[in-house]
């Protein structure tokens, strides 16, 4: 199951990150997952939130460029080798990882990997066949936090 991720264009300068994050705080949006990619000139803020359509509209109304992309979130055991096994599976199928980020939920003893694959459907199919838990909805991330 693919999740919707919001990407925002940011300039690489002081304060650039504060404005969108501040907007989300004011709107009481809880961020489920977040990463920042950067070059020396600009950055991309990537977010996974519960009600992505409302958050997209909010950010766009404030003048941000928001791109919605499909990502795949995967649960792995919080132990060495968890990521290696996943990569082995997609590599063998020649699926490219365009970007990824990860976080651990120590209290749940698990890690969550967020991937953008060039062929997400095929990746999901292969990973599921391997018995990997592909996260089915944002709610799963949210519930696990609380």
């Amino acid at each position: 199951m693919k999740l919707k991720q919001l990407s925002l264009f940011l300039e690489n300068k002081p304060g650039a990150l504060s404005r969108p994050i501040g907007l989300l705080a004011t709107a009481k949006v809880n961020i489920q997952a977040l990463s920042v990619a950067e070059s020396n000139q600009f950055g991309i803020l990537r977010l996974i939130v519960h009600d992505w359509e409302a958050v997209r509209d909010l950010l766009e109304k404030e003048g941000f460029i928001v791109k919605v992309t499909d990502v795949v979130a995967i649960e792995v055991a919080d132990q060495p080798g968890g990521l290696a096994d996943i990569l082995d599976t997609v590599d063998k199928a020649h699926i490219n990882v365009e970007f990824m980020y990860a976080f651990t939920q120590t209290h749940m003893n698990r890690g969550v990997l967020v991937f953008r694959f060039n062929n997400p459907d095929e990746a999901i199919r292969l990973l599921r066949r391997k018995g990997v838990n592909v996260v089915a909805s944002v709610d799963w991330l949210k519930q696990s936090h609380s």
Partner: protein
């Protein structure tokens, strides 16, 4: 002393003889050539005939130089609208050279020369070099670009006509310029003043002492520059820096040139008739009053120009020059009347940047051009607001957009710009329209 200049009141180069024509003879020559030019333009160029017909004028109505202000103006867009050959007054079999410069919409303007036009050009360029004290035996490094740009070939044939030695090195490759300057014993250089400032910096970095070289004269043009720049050039390099004026539409470089008094370019009035008009009304300005320089060619065959509006802001100086030339001078040009930018001697319009952006993005994003000057070289930064269309979610995709814009700008204007992607709504808008150009260059 190696740096000796020729004495001001000493022997003038014989090539400069026409510069000293008595006023009455000069005016008579101008009138004779003007009458021929008007007749030629009227009978051979549809646009000129139409413009004159609209005013109920025939060539016979122009009875003296005093009637020049009755003639219609010609403007840059006329050259574009008639692109490529619409203003030619000679058949192609009589034309031996074409030059072109870039235009706003990717459409350049084209200019043409018959053999006699090339002779006129070589003549005024020869007199330009002679005016600043160059002569046979001088080794002149021509660092203007060779090609469609008129600077390179224009200067080239002027040096040869003078009988001096030309080094046709063209622009760029500063280390090579310095090596040639040292090895060949260059005595004079032609280039844009900003490029020479860069040469000065490079020389300092490479340990080349310009002051110890035989180099003694710089012929600088193709972009506005100030007396402050002249002082810096002269102090740092030990040369004399002279301002040459010209534009492709009239002939190229050599429309006017400073003499050794360095008191503003003398217009070679036997070939080019100068007026200065009020920007708003188009009415002639009194001598010494600033306005737009308007030039009429006197004797150009392939492409006569009637009252061409140069967009250069200056004033006519009629006080006699100490050198004794009868040719009137113009005040040195420091600004242009329109939005054209001169970057490293190359004409660039904001609309060209728009063209380049459109090619990449399909729709025009908000953008801003910021001009700075670093080590004597103009730098152009183009800030472009990111649009949903180009935002690709990966850093690689954005960098690709950046590179595409870079390449597109370089293709359109022939210069590299630094492209910066910025957040939407960050470029200041005034009255709904963005301020397109911020010029931070200190002249």
């Amino acid at each position: 002393m190696r740096k000796s200049q020729r004495p001001l009141n000493g022997r003038f180069h014989p090539a400069s003889a026409p510069d000293f024509l008595p006023h009455d003879q000069l005016r008579a020559l101008q009138w004779q050539r003007l009458a021929e030019t008007v007749r030629r333009a009227y009978s051979r160029v549809a646009l000129f005939r139409k413009r004159m017909d609209e005013r109920g004028l025939t060539p016979d109505d122009i009875q003296s130089l005093d009637d020049v202000p009755r003639l219609p103006f010609t403007v840059k867009t006329d050259l574009r609208d008639t692109y490529p050959f619409g203003l030619f007054a000679s058949p192609m079999k009589d034309i031996v050279r074409l030059h072109a410069s870039t235009g706003t919409t990717g459409k350049p303007i084209v200019v043409a020369y018959t053999p006699s036009d090339l002779q006129v050009w070589a003549n005024v360029m020869m007199r330009s070099f002679a005016a600043c004290g160059l002569h046979e035996g001088d080794i002149i490094q021509n660092a203007y670009g060779y090609g469609l740009f008129t600077g390179g070939l224009g200067a080239h044939y002027g040096v040869e006509a003078l009988g001096a030695t030309v080094i046709p090195i063209s622009g760029g490759n500063t280390q090579r310029q310095l090596a040639v300057m040292v090895d060949f014993g260059t005595t004079a250089i032609c280039c844009t003043p900003s490029y020479f400032l860069h040469i000065i910096d490079q020389a300092q970095e490479s340990g080349v002492k310009l002051k110890d070289l035989p180099l003694r004269v710089g012929v600088f043009g193709a972009e506005p520059w100030t007396d402050a720049m002249r002082r810096r050039i002269e102090a740092d390099s030990g040369i004399k820096a002279y301002d040459i004026y010209g534009l492709s539409e009239i002939i190229g470089p050599g429309v006017g040139m400073e003499c050794q008094c360095q008191a503003g370019p003398h217009i070679f009035e036997d070939w080019f008739y100068p007026e200065v008009v009020d920007l708003a009304t188009g009415k002639p300005c009194a001598d010494g009053v600033e306005g737009e320089l308007v030039l009429t060619t006197l004797g150009k065959q392939a492409m006569p120009m009637i009252r061409y509006r140069t967009r250069d802001i200056t004033a006519l100086v009629t006080e006699p020059c100490e050198c004794g030339r009868s040719l009137r001078r113009i005040k040195r040009i420091a600004r242009r009347s329109d939005d054209m930018m001169i970057i490293r001697g190359v004409n660039v319009y904001p609309s060209q940047i728009e063209t380049a952006l459109l090619k990449v993005e399909g729709a025009l994003p908000h953008y801003q051009i910021i001009l700075t000057r670093d080590k004597g070289l103009d730098e152009m930064e183009v800030d472009v607001e990111v649009t949903p269309e180009v935002f690709g979610d990966t850093v690689g995709a954005l960098e690709e957009v950046q590179q595409k814009i870079n390449a597109s700008i370089e293709r359109v204007i022939g210069l590299r710009a630094k492209v910066r992607l910025v957040q939407p709504q960050t470029i200041q808008r005034s009255e709904g329209k963005a301020k397109r150009v911020i010029d931070q260059r200190k002249m």
